[in-house]
Symmetry: C2
Subunit: 364 residues, 2 copies
């Protein structure tokens, strides 16, 4: 990545420097495609997952030279805002699929929505997350994909939180498109991708101009970030085998939470979750208050998601799961670089919080 | 920039790491705004100038909470493709302003177009380049801005090639928005900006989702690229004073061209041009052939612009200037880091090309 930063070439230039830059770009494309079992030529690089979602979530597509129209977009209530807002679909063309109290997408409801879809108006497009960005809950993507296919729908999975954490295989046919983010798999901020299972059917370009990315995304490529994304993808594919180690460490964080604060609620505890996430609520304590306590103790936790300009509000994901009063929760992110010392520091803050709660309980 | 790369924080997070990232972001915003005489709070960061153009070139704007519609977009025939294609305007809503044979935008034609604009249908929006990306020709931006204002038009200048090369001052009132690119002022690829003279009137967001950039551009910020962009902007502002040195060096490149190849044509020679660009044609020699000769000699030149995926075709800028047969030209980019050795290497390739041309002339 640092090599790419000091490369003066533009991958679209034909001189030697340009060709060197292009090699870096194509190497990254290969690594990113492998992470999801796809082909390099079906990867379109973007500036991030949010742009990738904005690109894919549009009624206007092309199939070869023919135009193709989607009449309705189906998203889940627990999706990331960049999916939930529906991109270029107008508000009345977006249908919300409910989620159950365990965080799983309600497949019965999805089936009913697809059965009721008016095919004369246009095709159905489904965009849902593969793994939830707040709870870490893993959605049954193969089942969703099969259900979608049986109703003639095209399926986009926001795989931002899934890549490198669960196996993904676009060649298996359950997904038409994956959305990926570099910095969520340990790469730099500033790169993302759309990976298709083919490139015959593509959305009308969001960013037009030059012919980069086969005309699907204009603008000089962010070579350094893409190089870093590629390296991170290669690393993530390797780490996928060691993901159990992270899960074991995560379980120890959760044991610590429940030991110090026995009435704490760990969200999605009963269903499949990715190894790196623990999302929990402390009853009668605002997430913001707890977050400050952790911050002062040197532990950086997120309250809800970090995607909304520093706002700490109720989590729309927990609200979608029907958790009204507990809609304020904290997320611990655990990775291969998390240490015993991190766990000890985390537990020491928990001890402080537990002591403070006992104090207020006595005072009250 | 390297510091920013190793910062784990997300500028939207409220914990300590997030706040540190935010400081880096706001520091960069200040430097970028200063480069064009604007205010930091009127800067919106994007992934590059192409995205910035796609964001601004839309009929749909807001003014506070009210909607605002532009009915026609006016662009010049010599604009960069990302402007020329008109973003979210449909093709029949884009009017082309011709350029003269010297490369300057035809002000008489612009005046006539604006006088004929149907104000009942909506407002006029003008988007033109401040400096041409192929010829380096400097447009009379203050005059264009005044003319636009007198017809009630809003003016966007693509200042990608102008920033750091000519003084720009958005507070002077001739421009409503500037489009900037990081890697064209020596910063990294992957960052760009829209700088407004206010933020009351803004285009409908191109990339929605989270609330970053005050809701004007969702997605986690590319912190490292933006930090590099900020540093490059501070440097570019300083270098603006030393731009005459670059112009003198550029003149020596042009003297070398005309000495070795007396019938070469240097485009825009008679009008104001930025110091860093020399765009020239060798009669009866394809730009691609000459480019290969330079490339083999170790000199990286561009044929036309590098923005179209390695295609080397006729330049639409030269065609707009009415140069049909010479629409194949080479661009030399000269900077503060160009050396005497670079000039000597360049001239040695010219000598070879001149010798080869003499040979083919004799053979014929």
């Amino acid at each position: 990545m640092l090599d790419a930063l000091s490369m003066p070439g533009n991958p679209s230039s034909v001189h030697a420097e340009g060709r060197e830059a292009r090699r870096v770009l194509e190497e990254a494309r290969k690594h990113v495609s492998r992470l999801v079992g796809g082909r390099a030529e079906h990867v379109v690089f973007t500036s991030g997952a949010t742009e990738a979602a904005a690109m894919l979530l549009t009624p206007h597509w092309t199939m070869g030279r023919a135009a193709l129209e989607f009449s309705t977009l189906y998203v889940s209530a627990a999706d990331h805002p960049c999916v939930l807002k529906g991109g270029r679909f107008s508000r009345n063309k977006i249908n919300i699929i409910p989620v159950q109290s365990d965080g799983l997408i309600d497949l019965g409801a999805l089936k009913a929505l697809l059965a009721a879809h008016d095919r004369d108006a246009g095709l159905p497009l489904i965009a849902v997350h593969a793994v939830n960005n707040e709870t870490g809950v893993i959605q049954p993507i193969e089942e969703i994909g099969r259900l979608a296919k049986s109703h003639g729908a095209t399926t986009i999975f926001d795989a931002v939180q899934a890549a490198g954490r669960i196996p993904l295989d676009i060649s298996a046919g359950y997904a038409d498109y994956f959305i990926l983010s570099s910095h969520k798999i340990g790469g730099p901020k500033g790169a993302g991708a759309v990976v298709g299972n083919a490139d015959l059917m593509m959305p009308r370009a969001l960013i037009g101009g030059g012919g980069q990315e086969k005309g699907h995304r204009a603008g000089t490529e962010n070579l350094a970030a893409i190089a870093g994304f590629g390296a991170a993808a290669a690393e993530a594919l390797k780490n996928l085998e060691r993901v159990d180690l992270v899960a074991k460490l995560r379980d120890r964080f959760e044991t610590a939470i429940l030991k110090q604060i026995p009435d704490a609620v760990i969200h999605g505890l009963g269903v499949n979750r990715v190894a790196n996430t623990c999302f929990f609520s402390i009853p009668a304590m605002k997430a913001e208050t707890a977050q400050i306590a952790f911050d002062l103790g040197g532990v950086a936790l997120s309250a809800g998601s970090a995607c909304s300009s520093g706002r700490v509000g109720p989590s729309h994901v927990l609200e979608a799961m029907g958790l009204g009063n507990e809609a304020s929760a904290l997320r611990v992110s655990i990775g291969h670089d998390t240490t015993e010392a991190d766990l000890a520091l985390f537990e020491s803050v928990l001890v402080n919080i537990a002591r403070r709660r006992k104090g207020s309980a006595k005072a009250a």
